[in-house]
Amino acid sequence: MKLAGKAKMLRIHFGEDDKWRDKPLYRAIVEKCRELDIAGATVFRGIEGYGASTLIHRSHLLSFSSDAPIMVSVIDSEDKVHELIPFLDEMVDEGLIAMSEVEVIKYVHQEGARS
């Protein structure tokens, strides 16, 4: 996998409780990215937020229901990102997808560096 120079970053914002075919949406997105051989994806959980629905997303420490805001950040070349977008369109019912330009400085891994 090679990634260098100009690339695109997608940020997908939605709620932790959002589902895609009975699976957490963030997991479904990461799996889809892997399936499409996207360079990488990272899921972040926010502590508070609101979005298109203007519902406050907040993680409740004391209750089991937590609908914290989730952000998935995906970086790859413009072509690869555009390959992903139709799937995201279908999967993300309620949320925000933003794209921005980034310059890749480094994208490396070491064989067997991890046990």
Partner: protein, 244 residues
């Protein structure tokens, strides 16, 4: 206020038990210097020594800390030293006073003044800047230390304007390996993202250091507009002064 240049260094050697008007000589001398606005003085306690009386002062024997040697040192302008000497002479009694010529290379300053001198803030309060994002794993190590912690320390020492570490809950990257937090395991290998904002030159310079530290991961740069970059250090200082 001391200036860089020639000055006098005064060293006063006394015993810890020596008294001046019911107080230890070193404490009395220190107080005298303090109230005569000497720019700074230090007291050090020796662990063994002997003086004019040729009596060994040491803490080695069972006698608990017996009259250990004390040294009071301060640096001042020659005029100030001349002014203080007669009184010191009287206070020190059997002790020894020594004066050396010295050169002040860099005068000490209060933290307040130092902060004010820092007239070139690392980042302009507004304008074009770069945002660098570094994606690594929580378990990544650098010289036996967690990589993200090492990176933060390294950025601080390199004068980078600021960095924030985010912990992800799921992800994968160049090595195709899923990073996640498994609740049942003690080992967490969550994805980590460091977000760094500074001007382009500084970040580009830091890349050389970064290159060595990040053995696997992703580093990307993007353009940002800085709207505000402040810290309220001066405000805090002002409030502190007002309270006093």
């Amino acid at each position: 206020m001391m200036q860089a240049g020639p000055a006098k260094k005064v060293s006063i050697y006394v015993g810890q038990d020596h008294q001046y008007h019911g107080e230890s000589v070193y404490a009395a001398v220190l107080e005298f210097l303090f109230y005569h606005k000497v720019s700074g003085a230090s007291v050090t306690r020796g662990i063994a020594g002997f003086g004019a009386d040729h009596h060994m002062h040491t803490d080695r024997i069972l006698v608990l800390t017996e009259n250990l040697p004390m040294k009071v040192e301060f640096i001042e302008t020659p005029e100030k030293v001349e002014e203080l000497l007669p009184k010191l002479h009287e206070m020190v009694g059997t002790g020894l006073i020594e004066i050396q010529d010295t050169t002040i290379v860099k005068p000490s300053e209060t933290s307040k003044q130092a902060a004010r001198q820092d007239s070139s803030p690392p980042l302009k309060s507004a304008g074009k800047a770069k945002l660098m994002r570094i994606f690594i794993g929580e378990n990544d190590k650098w010289n036996g230390k967690q990589l993200y912690k090492a990176l933060i320390e390294c950025m601080r020492t390199n004068g980078i304007a600021g960095v924030t570490v985010y912990q992800g809950i799921l992800g994968y990257g160049a090595n195709r390996r899923i990073h996640k937090d498994s609740a049942l395991h003690l080992s967490h290998d969550r994805p980590i993202m460091l977000s760094v904002v500074d001007n382009e030159e500084r970040l580009r310079a830091f890349l050389l250091v970064l290159d060595d530290m990040v053995q696997q991961g992703l580093v990307v740069l993007s353009d940002v507009d800085v709207i505000k970059y402040t810290h309220n250090f001066h405000e805090q200082e002002r409030r502190k002064e007002a309270r006093q």
